[in-house]
């Protein structure tokens, strides 16, 4: 060890002293390597109890036929095999895919638009107010959002139908029509989700050196060029976070669907998380529900990994 060598070979000098001290410290930490683990024990216990254990239980239960009451019967991969041919499950997965558009693509787009508008060179009057106001949907509990929007979509004096009525449109049962139910629920998700991306981007933009914008302006770059070449690359980290988080949200959506349509009409808004609930609590097929949950977790992990990979490869 270099440090040891120095210590032994050279007499104490003012320059060696701190090194020597360091060496001693290193030795101390080495001899009691349990300390970091001791400090980790509590978080690990909490994490293990509330995350790892339930996760492991779910995976285990997914190999059983179990109604939650009588002794479980081991069925191996039976639940997964059944899932492969389950049209309800695949339909639900497709709907989750559609929700990617409403949870991820649209909110990020809207957020960009708002960020550009809110960060004009000439400061917008009442900027703070706009920021807060635009962020509000993100703060409201999802169940409340669902209940309120269900009213708003109602054909009996719902705000949406009343507003469309001003333009001469007849009221429509948006949530009860197989063709409109999914986009109707999806737009609510967009309304909730953009605020998160917006705040992320606003924070990120403040990190970008203003001088870059000024220099670009001097060089004759227009607003679009500045956005394309300065803002967008500068926000790469925030974009990845927004994409990852909203993508996860798109795949685990439950509350909105449960409150607004319960997966209907005719399963038009059915999603994977709702299938879990349906199996576990309506049909008491706990094993089958656990299998769906396990697939969902694997799917979300894989997708998150993919987004992170994309980011790494770009860098």
């Amino acid at each position: 060890m270099a440090v040891g060598g120095v210590r032994e070979g050279a007499p104490a000098s003012s320059r060696e002293a701190p090194r020597r001290g360091q060496g001693g410290r290193v030795g101390h930490a080495g001899s009691s390597g349990w300390l970091p683990y001791a400090l980790l024990a509590l978080p690990a216990l909490v994490y293990g109890t509330f995350v790892v254990f339930p996760l492991a239980s779910t995976v285990r239960v997914s190999f059983y036929d179990w109604n939650g009451l009588t002794p479980p019967v081991f069925v191996g991969l039976g639940n997964y095999v059944a899932l492969m041919g389950d049209t309800l499950f695949w339909g639900a997965l497709v709907h989750n895919g559609v929700f990617l558009l409403f949870y991820t693509v649209l909110p990020v787009g809207v957020a960009f638009l708002l960020v550009v508008l809110l960060t004009q060179e000439r400061a917008v009057r009442g900027l703070a107010l706009y920021r807060v106001g635009l962020f509000v949907p993100q703060v409201i509990p999802m169940v409340v959002v669902g209940v309120v929007w269900r009213w708003m979509y109602s054909p009996i004096n719902g705000v949406v139908n009343v507003a469309l009525g001003w333009f001469g449109a007849d009221p429509r049962p948006f949530l009860g029509d197989v063709t409109t139910a999914l986009p109707a629920v999806g737009l609510v998700a967009t309304w909730v989700q953009y605020g998160f991306a917006m705040v992320l981007f606003l924070a990120g933009i403040q990190r970008i050196d203003r001088a870059l914008f000024d220099a670009a302006a001097v060089d004759g770059a227009g607003p679009w060029a500045r956005f394309r070449h300065i803002t967008l690359p500068g926000l790469r980290g925030e974009i990845v976070v927004a994409l990852t988080v909203s993508m996860i949200a798109a795949f685990r959506v439950f509350d909105l669907v449960f409150v607004m349509t319960r997966g209907g009409p005719a399963n038009a808004t059915n999603v994977v998380a709702f299938e879990i609930w349906r199996r576990a609590f309506q049909q008491r097929e706990v094993g089958a529900a656990a299998a769906v949950a396990t697939v969902l977790v694997v799917l979300i992990l894989a997708l998150s990994r993919l987004v992170l990979r994309l980011q790494e490869s770009e860098q």
């Binding site: 790892v52 492991a56 009451l69 009588t70 429509r172 009860g176 197989v178 209907g264 309506q282």
Partner: protein, 478 residues
């Protein structure tokens, strides 16, 4: 240390943790057997010498007939122990009725009733585990059907009430065609026959509410045949009114609409076989196709509220209560929400005048007894009390529909509730209690609601609708 070895180490630790936890998972013996002492703490077969309803009965506690059941009561009157009851009568008036009944029961039997109220969803979710605990509730409302009561029976968690039903006279007051909804074979496999596991103080019947003012205005009479009913709907539509107030955003109301029409053409024998999966009753029958055709025609004719697909059930009956629409086809549970003088109620008429056809309905969520309770005798007394005439009186006075007949005078004449009680009693006496079709298989609710939404929107033909449901039925019943 490179990033890889760090990753490896973290992964290894995590894996070890997972392995450890998996190893610690409980085995298949889910029954919690820890020596928890029962909350009741009362002696087994706590007597009730003072019991008016069943003081002389004996041997009804848990179906285990051990010859000379000791009817000896050591704790009569004073401290009969504590009976823990879980129910879902959370709403104001209902809660008051139950509190009142509990107080009277306590006074008479010297048993303390400890009541815990939950929402139906919470109750359904927790009851399975609770009934397996030694300190679980002695009596609880257990949802009917294979997935709930059936699973509890299979797990051996519910007390067989068959003997009690004989001795307390429940079998005389309620036909088997009503009690069968709470019956299962001992292993829980067969629904609708075998042992009795629950009894309910409330009843439900689905029928037609009508707005008396609208009927007077249009000069309409209560129909006596199904054809008259159909003609009536046409008349109302012609007059520019909405014939049937309807909202199907919640999907289940259509089950009642379709089921009501279907019930006109089938009998209770078929319905029992179909629901309980006895014999080879399938869904693909001409009657079921005909009913689907009729309902689809009603949609085409504009007999239902416009845009019903997007209207929730609560909004829908609120509209009806506010005077919109001439009729509403739904269950007795909304009778308390409507003006007692402004609305009436009639059963779905049959093909010939005077025929009583099957009416969708049954008992409400039944009370069941935990198999291992030490308060078995008191629990049966409690159930008997909850279906007594006194209970029927209190329920009726509170505007609800009791499962038994309320005493004379409990329901004011000429009121909506009087119509509903009459309708239920007629259904009971003619033994024409029908079924909620979604009970047929564990997935039937989902399939039926989805297919009905398609049927009502005209995107599936009646025969195809019936075919899909037949497939679901065959897949489950094998």
């Amino acid at each position: 240390m490179g990033p890889w070895s760090k990753h490896l180490r973290t992964t290894a630790i995590l894996l070890a943790l997972v392995a450890l936890l998996v190893a610690c998972l409980p085995g298949s013996d889910q029954q919690a057997g820890d020596g928890d002492q029962g909350a009741g703490g009362g002696d087994e077969d706590t007597g009730d010498a003072t019991a008016g309803t069943g003081g002389t009965e004996e041997g009804v506690d848990d179906g285990t007939e051990d010859g000379t059941e000791d009817g000896t009561e050591d704790q009569a009157g004073g401290d009969g122990g504590t009976l823990v009851v879980w129910d879902q009568w959370a709403r104001g008036v209902e809660g008051d009725v139950v509190d009142q009944l509990n107080a009277e029961f306590s006074d008479e039997h010297g048993v303390t009733v400890q009541r815990e109220t939950k929402t139906l969803d919470d109750l359904n979710a927790t009851i399975g585990l609770a009934m397996g605990q030694p300190d679980g509730p002695d009596v609880a409302q257990v949802n009917q059907g294979r997935a709930d009561m059936g699973a509890l029976v299979e797990a051996g968690l519910l007390m067989d009430l068959s003997a009690a039903a004989e001795e307390r006279g429940w079998t005389e007051r309620f036909s088997e065609n009503l009690l069968n909804r709470n019956m299962f074979s001992e292993d829980g496999a067969q629904f609708g026959t075998g042992n009795l596991y629950g009894i309910a103080p409330q009843a439900e019947v689905v029928g037609w509410y009508y707005n008396k003012a609208t009927f007077d205005e249009l000069g309409l009479e209560v129909p006596t045949t199904f054809d008259e009913l159909a003609a009536l709907l046409g008349q109302i539509a012609e007059a520019g009114e909405t014939p049937i107030t309807f909202g199907n955003l919640d999907a289940w109301p259509a089950i009642h609409t379709y089921g009501t029409v279907e019930h006109v053409f089938v009998d209770t024998g078929y319905l029992n076989d179909f629901i309980f999966n006895l014999g080879d009753a399938g869904f693909d029958r001409p009657e079921n196709v005909e009913a689907a055709e009729i309902v689809q025609t009603w949609v085409d004719e504009g007999y239902f509220t416009e845009n019903f697909e997007g209207i929730g059930y609560d909004d829908s009956w609120a509209q009806f209560a506010a005077g919109e629409g001439a009729l509403m086809l739904t269950g007795s549970w909304i009778s308390g929400e409507l003006d007692q003088d402004g609305y009436g109620f009639f059963l779905t008429p049959g093909e010939a005048a005077g025929d009583v056809v099957p009416q969708i309905g049954g008992q409400g969520v039944p009370l069941a007894v935990r198999a291992d309770t030490e308060m078995g005798e008191a629990a049966v007394d409690y159930l008997d009390w909850m279906v007594s005439e006194r209970a029927a009186q209190l329920w009726a006075e509170a505007g609800g529909l009791p499962s038994g007949e309320p005493p004379e005078g409990a329901v004011a004449d000429q009121t909506l509730l009087a119509d509903v009680v009459d309708g239920w009693q007629t259904t009971l006496e003619s033994d024409q209690v029908g079924h909620y079709l979604d009970w047929a298989t564990p997935t039937f609710y989902d399939t039926l609601t989805a297919e009905l939404q398609l049927l009502l929107s005209g995107s599936v033909e009646p025969q195809a609708f019936v075919d899909t449901l037949e497939q679901d039925y065959q897949a489950s019943s094998g």
